[in-house]
């Protein structure tokens, strides 16, 4: 319990510091959303000043930060200049989509990595393991950008997959099951791309963690007792190998979030990525801060979750 409390406190402090950091950077930027309006002779400088004061851009930085922070606790992330609407609902939909995409690909990546990693560890040094290793290295060499572009090319050329968006135009008329199928069809390509982009390090780590465990004397003892091989693997070896893998899961959240930004832009998935890029180009500050903060919340939450999982799975941590 004390462990949980300490981790929670740590995460909160980290988020607070991160929010102040990104807020300070963004707000100290020269120029704002209304600056280009000054070039228009039709708009008087008084109108611009009025708009600035309405959106609170004329107050000093700590005041704005305090105001923003107080808003956050009430679920208010400020106003978007470009959309002229509150940021929170805008972000909520996008965050949901990003979460759907990243969660699916995370699941996909681990579902590929664990069996394949175990198999490689069992057939260490044989041609299958070498082929797997070569595949992982090759995948690691291919930049994410190129991987996603090739996927887009496949979608455009074959017409098997939709090339963008999350739903078809006729989405509203579908019944529930077809709706789910429609989303799944749109989700397939971005999720696959993201899973492939995060796969190589997972594969390597699963393999090396399993190899380390399989060499341990207690596994030989279990085998000598005549316990069936799959039971040795799943019941005895995997739980011991799990703990470094869980912390790897925490780290992989970060890479996945960064890669998801790119895949969303290239394959037009309506997540946080495209919103953020547009907001940056328009200097829509509160949207940018909101998106950056949300992504760090995801990241910190992922790490926290990993910490708790380790705590639950590994008795050695509990003793400390």
């Amino acid at each position: 319990m004390r462990y949980l409390a300490r981790r929670l406190l740590h995460a909160t402090l980290l988020l607070l510091a991160a929010s102040f950091f990104s807020f300070a950077i963004l707000q100290s930027a020269p120029g704002d959303y209304f600056a280009p309006m000054g070039l228009n002779p039709q708009v008087s400088s008084r109108t611009i000043a009025g708009l600035r004061s309405r959106y609170g851009l004329d107050r000093p930085l700590p005041v704005r930060y305090g105001h923003w922070l107080r808003g956050v606790f009430n679920g208010d992330l400020g106003l978007s200049f470009a959309y002229n609407s509150p940021v929170a609902p805008l972000l909520a939909i996008r965050a949901r989509n990003t979460l759907l995409l990243t969660a699916t690909s995370m699941l996909l990546a681990w579902l590929i990595a664990i069996p394949l990693g175990i198999w490689s560890a069992l057939h260490r040094g044989k041609w299958g393991d070498r082929a797997g290793g070569a595949f992982a290295s090759a995948l690691l060499t291919v930049p994410d950008l190129m991987l996603f572009l090739v996927l887009l090319l496949v979608a455009v050329r074959t017409g098997w997959f939709p090339t963008g968006g999350m739903v078809s135009t006729a989405f509203g008329d579908l019944n529930m099951w077809s709706k789910i199928a429609d989303i799944a069809r749109h989700l397939l390509l971005p999720a696959l791309g993201l899973a492939l982009a995060t796969l190589p390090p997972l594969l390597r780590h699963v393999r090396s963690a399993m190899i380390e465990v399989l060499d341990a004397p207690f596994i030989r003892a279990a085998r000598a007792h005549g316990i069936r091989e799959w039971r040795v693997l799943l019941r005895y070896a995997l739980p011991v190998a799990a703990s470094p893998l869980i912390s790897l899961f925490g780290f992989s959240v970060a890479t996945m979030l960064s890669a998801s930004l790119l895949v969303e832009v290239i394959l037009s998935w309506p997540g946080l990525g495209p919103l953020l890029v547009d907001a940056i180009l328009a200097k829509d500050v509160y949207v940018v801060i909101g998106a950056v903060m949300l992504s760090s919340v995801f990241l910190v939450a992922g790490n926290l979750f990993a910490d708790l999982l380790i705590f639950a799975a590994d008795p050695r941590v509990r003793v400390e």
Partner: protein
């Protein structure tokens, strides 16, 4: 022994790539900005050795398909006017490393013809030349940012590891802050803070320094770890016993032990930062026209019609693969090598 061979192979590949990029002006037949508006999206020019009558030529030659199309002779190879490829020809002036001016190019064809080894882009600019010149920008970005990250890493990690205590705590907690923010988002946030309309060199320098500043945490942590164990070594204790100062100990005994980690980190970080620059520029947030960079070369692929009809626009990305492979192989081999040295 095979590991050493791998490292040597990777280093040779890297050296070849780097010299190609450094001497871009010499190897590229054209200037990166010279346009041929009448030849947009020209496919890669094929080199021929056998002419229409079946005679073999040692000097390769090309057919100008564009010219053939215009004079209505059809566009099949062998029908247009042919241009032999000349070597060491005079062409557009350029400077190597911004100092040595010259106008000799490795190869080229007569002025009325065009040779596009990797095709041309929407403005009819030679992709091959742009790839080489773009490499200068992208590699420079990667190099500067990586050196910046590692230098901050060595200072912070060295201090944190050597002195320990509250200083260590403070620095490492600060580093956690940078790890807690997803780096691409963070990079974007900082890019958002920069004015959108400043000169390209300013954008470039700001971008590079921001990338370098964000990435110091990982090298700092690794170096801290090495310093922590390095200062426990007996010879360090002995030197301290003889009255060596902290500065001397760090410089003479502790930091040299981190060089292996440092080198590995550098080889790992450079391709990462090159990719970061490529990604940002691809999304329209990096260096802009007319400066060529690898990201700018790829950014035309964001349009569906370019993506699906002009396959040669993928070529720059394809040529990057051996470069990244060389970097990763070198980093892998270095890591193994210094691990064995340490044991």
């Amino acid at each position: 022994m095979t590991r050493r061979r791998k490292l040597v192979g990777a280093l040779i590949l890297l050296a070849a790539f780097q010299s190609l990029i450094l001497l871009a002006g010499f190897f590229a037949p054209y200037d990166f900005a010279s346009q041929n508006r009448e030849r947009p999206f020209a496919p890669p020019t094929a080199l021929h050795f056998v002419d229409a009558r079946g005679h073999f030529h040692f000097r390769p030659f090309i057919y100008d398909l564009e010219d053939a199309k215009r004079s209505g002779e059809g566009s099949s190879a062998g029908s247009g006017p042919s241009y032999p490829v000349h070597f060491f020809v005079r062409g557009a002036p350029y400077k190597i490393a911004g100092v040595f001016a010259s106008c000799i190019h490795l190869f080229g064809v007569e002025a009325s013809g065009r040779i596009f080894l990797m095709g041309s882009d929407a403005y009819g600019r030679d992709q091959f030349s742009r790839f080489l010149f773009g490499g200068q920008i992208s590699m420079l970005a990667g190099l500067i940012a990586a050196i910046l990250s590692v230098s901050i890493g060595i200072v912070v990690g060295g201090i944190a590891g050597y002195y320990g205590g509250w200083l260590d705590e403070l620095l490492m907690r600060g580093g956690e802050l940078f790890l807690a923010l997803p780096w691409l988002y963070l990079l974007f946030a900082v890019r958002a803070a920069l004015p959108l309309h400043i000169s390209q060199w300013e954008v470039f320098l700001l971008l590079v320094s921001v990338m370098g500043l964000i990435g110091w945490t990982r090298p700092a942590r690794l170096i801290r770890g090495v310093v922590l164990s390095a200062k426990q070594r007996n010879f360090v204790a002995a030197a301290r016993g003889f009255g060596a100062s902290d500065a001397y100990l760090l410089r003479r005994h502790v930091l040299p032990q981190t060089y292996g980690v440092l080198l590995t980190q550098l080889t790992l970080l450079i391709p990462q930062y090159v990719l970061a620059e490529v990604t940002l520029t691809f999304l329209g947030l990096g260096v802009g026209e007319p400066m060529p960079s690898w990201g700018a070369l790829l950014s035309s692929l964001q349009q569906y019609y370019v993506l699906s009809s002009y396959w040669w626009m993928f070529l720059p990305a394809l040529f990057l693969l051996p470069l990244f492979l060389a970097f990763y192989t070198a980093a892998d081999a270095l890591q193994e090598l210094h691990k064995r040295v340490a044991l």
